[in-house]
Amino acid sequence: MDAKFRIRRFNPERDQKPYWAEYTVKDVEGTDTVLDCLHRIKWEQDGTLTLRRSCAHGVCGSDAMRINGVNKLACKTLLQTLNLNRPIQVEPILGLKVIKDLVVDFEPFFEHYRAVMPYFVPNTPVPQDGRERRQSPEDRARFDDTTKCILCACCTTSCPSFWASGEYVGPAAIVNAHRFIFDSRDGATNERLNILAEPGGVWRCRTIFNCTPACPREIEVTRAIGEVKLAIQRGVR
C-alpha cells in the first residue's frame, strides 16, 4: 500500500511564496503514523523537508500540524484513520508565522502562556513539619484535566478568535491558568482572573468548540474556559 502526501512547503531563503509539494511513500501500513511517513520523505527522498518532532508518541507536543485540515499531532495520527484514496494534506498550524515548511514561530504562543502566571503561588507558608502541603483527593481531582496540557498549540491554533486576533491569549494559556485557579493550594486566583478578564482574555472566546476536539490530550478545553468565565463573574466555586 502506498500513501500520497501533499505538503505545504516554504523556505524563506529560497522561495518567494509557499507552494504544495507532492510525495508518495511506498509500502506503508495502517499503523504507520503521519510522522513516520514525513520522516521517510525527509530521510529517503528530500532532506530539506523541515518539521519539529521529538518523543514520537504524543507526549512532548512538538509536532502539531494541520492534517487534512484538522489540527493533530503527526505522531498520534495513524494512516488507518485517514482516507488513503486521496493525498493526505499536511500544512503548518495556522495563526503563527511560518519559519520554514511545517515549523512555525512559537514565541507568541509562549508569550501568551507566560502572561497568565502559569506557576504555583502558595496560599499558605511552607508546613512547619517540613512535609508536604496536604490536599484531599477531591481537591486534587478538581483541576486534573488541565494538568495534562503539553503546550502543543493544537487548541490555540484551531481557534477562529485567535486567527482573528493574535492579541487573544488563546485556549492553551487559559487551560494553564485554569490548572492553578482551581488548585486549592494556590493563592493567586484573583490576579489570574483579573488578567483573563482583560480585553485579550477569556471574553474573546466565542464558544466555537474547535479547541476541544483539537486537543490530543482530550482535555475539555472549552469547558475549562467556561469555568474560568464563570469564576470571573461569580468567583471560584
Binding site: 532532506g47 518532532r53 508518541h57 486534587r140 486534573d144 503539553i150
Partner: protein, 598 residues
C-alpha cells in the same frame, strides 16, 4: 558564506532543559547570572515522558526508610553502584520530593491528603523482602508533571532561556571549561557562550538502538562533545532495556502497570516471573525481567511465536493473583483508568488494544544509560579515576554517571536522580562562580565546529545519514543488546568503525541552507551517535563478566575479583579508545556484594 558568530557571557550555563537542567538552572539562577541552552523548547524534553513515579522513602502508606532505598539501589545496580552516591540519592530524595510538592507539583493524594505512593520493581521492605510503596506519582504522567512544574517555576523566577539553540562544542582553556558553542537553529548562526561554570544535562542516547522508548532528540550530543574534548566516559556498556516496551514500537509501558498488579504472561498462559524471581516476581529489577522475557521468547514461549509476551492488567487477572497472594485489595476498570490513563491511551492508539479488556503486547526496549560523563557526588565532572576535577564543568541527570545506578537502574530512580543531582549541580555552580573570575576563551573558539559543519555541508558523497543511522541502530540492537557474546560485539565494533569511515567520506545531505537546517543537524547528531556506539561496544567487549544490564553468554557469572570497578573509557589523540578500570566502586555503606536474588 561564512557563518555569523554572536557572543554572550553568563556566570553559569546549563546545557539541556529537561528535569536535571531546569533544576540546576533554578538553583544557580537564584545566585548568579544563568542561562539554559536547549535544542528543544524545554517542555519538549524527554523527562516529560517518564510515567510511573519518583522514588522516595516518605513512608506515607507503610514503613519505609532511606537506608532500604539506598540498599535496593545498590542491589538493583548489581553492586556497581557507588554506595556514597546511593546514600545521597536516598536521603535527599525525601526532601526533593517534598520540595517539588512545595513548588506546586500535583501529586496523586492519599485520603489523608499526603502524597500517594505505589509499588515499583526492586523497591522492597528490606526486612520482609516484600515490595514497598515508595514511588510517588501523579497518575502515569509523573515526568510530565515534574517537567511542567520545574518549567513553571523557571518562568516564575525569570530564568533566561535560549530555546532551540543546539550546543555543538565545549570550549576549554587548557584544563578548564570556559564556554560552549551553539547553533541558533532558527537562523543557523553560531553563538559563543563564555562562562565560569557549565552543567551538561543533555539526557540519554537511546537512539543508538533499533527499538527504543527514547525521543528522536536523544542522540547523545553532550557526552560526544565532552569526549571530543578529552573527557572520559564511564560504564558505557551498562545500557538498560526496559522490559515492557509496547510491541513493536518500543513506546514505554510503565512498570507502574506491574506496580498496580499487572503480570507478565507467556504463550502458554504462565506467569513466568514466578520462576525467575520467586519472591517479588513481576516486580524484580528491570535487567532481570528483560532477560526473563528474552529467555521465554527464545524458549518458544513468545505470543503467536513472535518476539513478545503479554502484560496483563485486566481487573479479573489482577484480582485473581491478588487473592492468590492473600491480599485484600481488589481493583476494577475505573481504577485502572484513573491510575494509568496515558497507558490506556497509548495502547488504544498504537496497538489497538484496550488494556482493561485485552492483554498488552510488550517486549524489551532500549531505555536508559546508566553510564555517561563521570562525576563525583557533587555533580563535578572528573578527568580520571583519581577524581581529578574538570574545573568549571558539571553534569547531572541521565548524561552523568555518578554512579548511582551502577549496572542497572531501579525504576523511579531516574527522576530522583534528576532532582537530587540537578540541584547539586546548580548549587555547586553558584558557589564556584562566586569564587572565581572568567578564564579566557581559546582563540578562534568556533574554528573547529565551523570546519566540521562545513565538511558535512559540502561533502559530495552519495550516502544519506539515514542509511548509516539505520545500519548502526540495527548493529547495536542485534549485537550489543540484552544478550552479548564476544564475536558479535567484535562484529559490532568493526561494523561501527566502517560506518564511521563512511560517515567521514561518503555522507551527503540535501539541505544547503542555514535556516532551521535539521538535515545538517541530524547528520551532525549521527556523528555523536557513532562515537558513542563505538565506545559502548568497546566497553562491552572488554568487560568479561555478566553484571546487571551487561549480560554475556560467554561469561555468565559476575566477577567481583576483577570487575568491582567502573569502566573508564579514555579518548586518545589518535582516535583510539583506552579502557581502564581505575575507578573502584565505593562500598562505604558496607553493603558487600552478594548474589542477587529477587
Amino acid at each position: 558564506m561564512a557563518m555569523q558568530v554572536h557572543h554572550h557571557q553568563f556566570d553559569a550555563l546549563v546545557v539541556g532543559g529537561g528535569g536535571a537542567g531546569l533544576m540546576a538552572a533554578l538553583y544557580a539562577s537564584r545566585h548568579v547570572r544563568t542561562a539554559v541552552i536547549s535544542k528543544l523548547y524545554p517542555t519538549r524534553s524527554h523527562t516529560g515522558t517518564a510515567q510511573g513515579g519518583i522514588g522516595a522513602a516518605l513512608g506515607n502508606l507503610e514503613e519505609d526508610r532511606w537506608e532500604w532505598h539506598a540498599f535496593d539501589t545498590v542491589k538493583g545496580g548489581d553492586y556497581l553502584t557507588d554506595q556514597k552516591a546511593a546514600k545521597v540519592l536516598a536521603q535527599e530524595a525525601i526532601e526533593a520530593v517534598i520540595e517539588l510538592e512545595w513548588m506546586g507539583l500535583p501529586f496523586d493524594r492519599n485520603p489523608d491528603g499526603t502524597i500517594s505512593q505505589r509499588r515499583f520493581g526492586g523497591h522492597t521492605n528490606n526486612e520482609t523482602k516484600k515490595p514497598v510503596r515508595r514511588a510517588c506519582h501523579s497518575a502515569d504522567r509523573t515526568g510530565h508533571m515534574i517537567l511542567q512544574t520545574l518549567y513553571q517555576n523557571c518562568i516564575k523566577e525569570d530564568v533566561k532561556f535560549f530555546d532551540e539553540y543546539q550546543v555543538v562544542d565545549l570550549l576549554m582553556n587548557d584544563k578548564t571549561a570556559v564556554g560552549v558553542v551553539a547553533v541558533n537553529i532558527d537562523t543557523g548562526d553560531l553563538h559563543v557562550f563564555h562562562a565560569k561554570a557549565i552543567t551538561f544535562a543533555t539526557g540519554g542516547w537511546g537512539r543508538l538502538w533499533w527499538t527504543t522508548s527514547n525521543a528522536h532528540s536523544l542522540t547523545g550530543d553532550g557526552p560526544a562533545i565532552t569526549w571530543r574534548n578529552g573527557i572520559p566516559l564511564q560504564d558505557m556498556e551498562f545500557y538498560q532495556f526496559h522490559p515492557t516496551g509496547l510491541y513493536p514500537l518500543g513506546v514505554l509501558i510503565t512498570e507502574g502497570v506491574r506496580g498496580e498488579g499487572g503480570v507478565l504472561i507467556n504463550a502458554k498462559g504462565e506467569r513466568f516471573m514466578e520462576r525467575y524471581a520467586p519472591t517479588i516476581k513481576d516486580l524484580a529489577s528491570r535487567d532481570v525481567v528483560s532477560r526473563s522475557i528474552y529467555l521465554e521468547i527464545m524458549a518458544g514461549n513468545g505470543i503467536k511465536g513472535k518476539p513478545y509476551v503479554h502484560l496483563d492488567v485486566r481487573p479479573e487477572t489482577v484480582n485473581r493473583y491478588l487473592a492468590e497472594a492473600g491480599e485484600s485489595r481488589r481493583i476494577d476498570a475505573d481504577y485502572v483508568l484513573q491510575k494509568l490513563p496515558d497507558i490506556l491511551d497509548f495502547c488504544r492508539t498504537y496497538a489497538g488494544v484496550d488494556p482493561v479488556k485485552d492483554p498488552i503486547p510488550v517486549a524489551p526496549t532500549a531505555h536508559y544509560a546508566m553510564g555517561g560523563i563521570p562525576t563525583d557526588i557533587d555533580a563535578h565532572v572528573i578527568w580520571n579515576g583519581q577524581e581529578e576535577p574538570v574545573l568549571g564543568l558539571y553534569a547531572a541527570g541521565e548524561v552523568a554517571c555518578v554512579s548511582v545506578h551502577g549496572a542497572n537502574r531501579l525504576g523511579t530512580n531516574s527522576l530522583t536522580d534528576l532532582i537530587v543531582f540537578g540541584r547539586k549541580a546548580g548549587l555547586q555552580m553558584a558557589d564556584y562562580c562566586r569564587q572565581v573570575g572568567f578564564t579566557d576563551l581559546p582563540p578562534n573558539p568556533t574554528e573547529r565546529i565551523e570546519a566540521e559543519l562545513s565538511r558535512i555541508r559540502s561533502n559530495k558523497g552519495k550516502v544519506k545519514a539515514y542509511d548509516i543511522r539505520k545500519q548502526m541502530r540495527q548493529l547495536m540492537m542485534d549485537k550489543v543488546g540484552v544478550f552479548r557474546v564476544q564475536d558479535m560485539m567484535q562484529e559490532a565494533v568493526d561494523g561501527i568503525r566502517q560506518l564511521k569511515e563512511q560517515y567521514r567520506t561518503e555522507l551527503a545531505i540535501d539541505d544547503d541552507g542555514y535556516r532551521f537546517n535539521t538535515d545538517l543537524l541530524e547528520a551532525w547528531e549521527l556523528g555523536c551517535m557513532l562515537d558513542l556506539a563505538e565506545i559502548t561496544a568497546v566497553s562491552a567487549l572488554e568487560r568479561k563478566e555478566s553484571r546487571g544490564a551487561h549480560s554475556r553468554d560467554d561469561y555468565p557469572e559476575r566477577d567481583d575479583e576483577k570487575y568491582l570497578a567502573h569502566t573508564m573509557a579514555y579518548p586518545q589523540e589518535d582516535g583510539q579508545i583506552v579502557i581502564k578500570y581505575d575507578r573502584p566502586v565505593d562500598l562505604s555503606l558496607g553493603y558487600e556484594p552478594k548474589e542477587r536474588v529477587y
